[in-house]
């Protein structure tokens, strides 16, 4: 058997790692993981290539042609050129960006504040903990309906405001372009702050207590301890939490769509809503594929950047 591994044996001193036994187990490993690899190929690589292919054509399901015949309407990179000049696309991108810029920091700060409270013990901690996590477990579509009802002009939000300000307030939240976006962001913050809280709490608990004590003994105030010890120690986990929420917010859809349907007009039309409308109403799937690929590219670049930052943070701590 050893003789059969030709090239290795021919070398005078094969490196230790390339022993015949290793080769054998590597080959066995490959064979054992082959089904999984084929599966990955079909669920990830194949759709990606299919998407790329369609994005280079004007194919639409209305054409009556199967997708692999899409080459008949080949248009080179015209979809991508279109994308650059599509104002509705850029507006949707901008709105998505606004949602990220507002929701992620708010969720982060609220989550961090709550997590800081939950590091210490207090009466009823477990009960509050469970209550806090509940929004996260609500199905997004249900949350959408909840907030749809809450923000009706005769709904509870206006009732509360009326009581607070002492006069009858009837704001048409979901019909006003600015307020609708705010309402949508409030719903997102309500639902996803718990996730931020959960991740950050895990990070906070992992901060070495003795270093915090040492900082205290060196005269650091609670705020100084927080900024010089706690936050730097949590850097990696903060990056994870932020990255998860940025990516998720980029794809914000379900709750929002049920609350406003992207309206009034296109006031809350984020990128996912825009894609959804193009797919189901305009049926220009070649163009949709181009947008989806462009977004994938943006998110991939962002993710790689976040991962790199996280690895660097990991390197420094621990």
């Amino acid at each position: 058997m050893n003789l059969a591994t030709g090239p290795d044996n021919a070398m005078a001193q094969p490196p230790a790692a390339r022993t015949p036994g290793r080769d054998e187990s590597a080959r066995l490993g490959f064979r054992l993981t082959l089904p999984a690899q084929v599966l990955v190929l079909f669920i990830a690589v194949f759709p990606l290539l299919m998407q790329l292919y369609i994005s280079l054509t004007d194919w639409s399901p209305l054409d009556g042609l199967s997708w692999w015949m899409a080459w008949e309407s080949w248009n080179n990179f015209y979809n991508y050129y279109d994308l650059m000049r599509d104002n509705r696309f850029w507006s949707a991108m901008w709105r998505t960006f606004v949602v990220i810029i507002v929701c992620v920091p708010v969720e982060f700060l609220l989550g961090l504040g709550l997590a800081t409270l939950f590091v210490d013990d207090f009466r009823g901690k477990r009960v509050f903990y469970s209550i806090l996590l509940m929004p996260m477990m609500v199905v997004p579509a249900v949350a959408g309906y909840m907030f749809f009802m809450l923000f009706q002009s005769g709904g509870p939000v206006n009732d509360v405001l009326s009581i607070v300000f002492g006069t009858r307030i009837a704001i048409a939240w979901l019909s006003d372009p600015t307020l609708a976006l705010i309402a949508v962001m409030i719903a997102d913050i309500w639902q996803w702050t718990p996730l931020m809280f959960l991740i950050l709490l895990a990070g906070l608990v992992g901060v070495p207590q003795d270093q915090i004590k040492a900082a205290t003994l060196l005269g650091a105030s609670p705020w100084q301890r927080f900024t010089t010890i706690v936050i730097p120690k949590m850097k990696a986990i903060i990056i994870i939490a932020l990255a998860i929420r940025v990516i998720e917010n980029f794809k914000i859809f379900d709750t929002l769509y049920i609350m406003t349907g992207g309206g009034p007009g296109v006031a809350t039309e984020t990128i996912s809503v825009y894609i959804y409308k193009l797919t189901t109403q305009d049926l220009i799937w070649g163009y949709v594929a181009a947008i989806a690929l462009a977004i994938l590219l943006v998110l991939s670049v962002f993710t790689v950047y976040a991962m790199k930052r996280m690895a660097a943070a990991r390197e420094v701590e621990a």
Partner: protein
């Protein structure tokens, strides 16, 4: 520099009493070791001095300032943690500069102090290294420097050598002692290792079960243990303690050790003290302060184990209540199970009350 006075200090955690009535005066510039087995209350005492825990009762005075209610960052106490608690996400320089930076000192002053402390601790070449992954002796110096830069009156060290491997401990001990001599600060050192306490401390406070058992210089504690706990705890191996009954004989007062035999007459001052005492006693002598001879009259017991540890040999005799250890310089041809005569140096013998465990006969040099 400052004295520390602990007055009637008590600490309870719920139903558990970690420390019962501790009184201790630590002198200015003194190196005091708190020594005891784990759970004896030594760390609790230290944490209360540092202000990490509030005493349940009693007072802590630095000089004549009562520390009650003074927050831990404002006591002027340097604290070196068991694992040093170095800020691993910072450089050595940032670690050293941490205290003054938190106090909002101007940058030029911080730089000057960091440079001078680094020079003193021979850390100058390390300043810009990340604190992560430094060797323990450098970590120890950084930990000390980080506290010392604030010029604390008092230094507290919580078992700083317990994570260090045995071979390196001797080096670290020497380094620490030298640093203390140069800083001349009051130091309180918590340890369960008597070797560390004996070699470094000016005085040792031996603690057990939340009580202070004895305070004294290392030699006082070694030579004149105040009670059986200290006698057994200090020394390696600890003192031989054999229950017996004093009785008069021709040569003077002796102790009848039952099956082991009868001791030689006690020296006069000790006999004098013992004559006024009634009840059973414990006859104690150090394993190093006895010799072995051929069987005859006196304490006699069979050899059970012979441990040869190179320079010296530990001979174990008897068992259970009558177990005796004798450390001798030379190799002997001890025959297992053969009865051997144990001859303690009678002037080094100590006698304890069997009921109370306290030493009888006062302090002798």
């Amino acid at each position: 520099m400052s004295t520390i006075r602990l007055q009637n200090l008590v600490k309870r955690f719920g139903d558990f009493t970690a420390l019962r009535t501790m009184d201790l005066d630590i002198g200015d510039g003194e190196f005091m070791a708190l020594l005891g087995p784990s759970g004896c209350g030594k760390s609790t005492t230290m944490n209360m001095i540092a202000g990490m825990e509030e005493p349940s009762e009693g007072r802590i005075l630095f000089g004549d300032r009562d520390m009650a209610g003074v927050a831990m960052g404002r006591r002027g106490v340097g604290f070196v943690f068991q694992n040093y608690a170095i800020f691993t996400h910072m450089s050595v320089r940032q670690n050293l500069a941490y205290g003054p930076r938190m106090q909002g000192k101007p940058k030029s002053e911080i730089d000057r102090r960091v440079v001078s402390i680094a020079k003193f601790l021979q850390l100058t070449t390390m300043l810009d290294r990340p604190a992560k992954g430094l060797s323990v002796n450098i970590l120890q110096r950084v930990a000390i420097g980080r506290s010392a830069i604030l010029e604390p009156a008092i230094f507290l060290l919580d078992e700083p050598l317990s994570n260090v491997d045995a071979a390196f401990r001797a080096v670290m001990r020497t380094e620490l002692k030298q640093l203390q001599r140069e800083f001349r600060q009051t130091m309180v050192y918590v340890t369960h290792d008597q070797l560390e306490a004996m070699t470094m401390a000016d005085r040792i406070a031996v603690m057990d079960h939340g009580e202070l058992r004895q305070v004294g210089t290392p030699l006082e504690i070694y030579n004149n243990p105040a009670n059986v706990f200290v006698a057994r705890f200090i020394g390696s191996p600890g003192m031989n303690l054999l229950p017996g009954q004093p009785s008069e004989s021709d040569g003077g007062l002796v102790v009848d050790l039952g099956l082991l035999g009868v001791t030689a007459p006690l020296p006069e001052p000790l006999a004098q003290a013992l004559r006024g005492h009634s009840g059973e006693v414990v006859f104690g002598f150090r394993p190093e302060q006895a010799t072995l001879g051929v069987a005859g009259r006196g304490i006699s017991a069979p050899v059970t184990v012979v441990e040869r540890i190179g320079a010296r040999t530990i001979v174990h005799l008897g068992e259970d209540e009558t177990a005796i250890k004798v450390v001798i310089d030379n190799e002997i041809d001890a025959v297992l199970d053969a009865a051997v005569l144990v001859m303690p140096q009678m002037d080094a013998v100590r006698i304890f009350d069997r009921a109370t465990g306290k030493a009888i006969g006062g302090i002798r040099g």
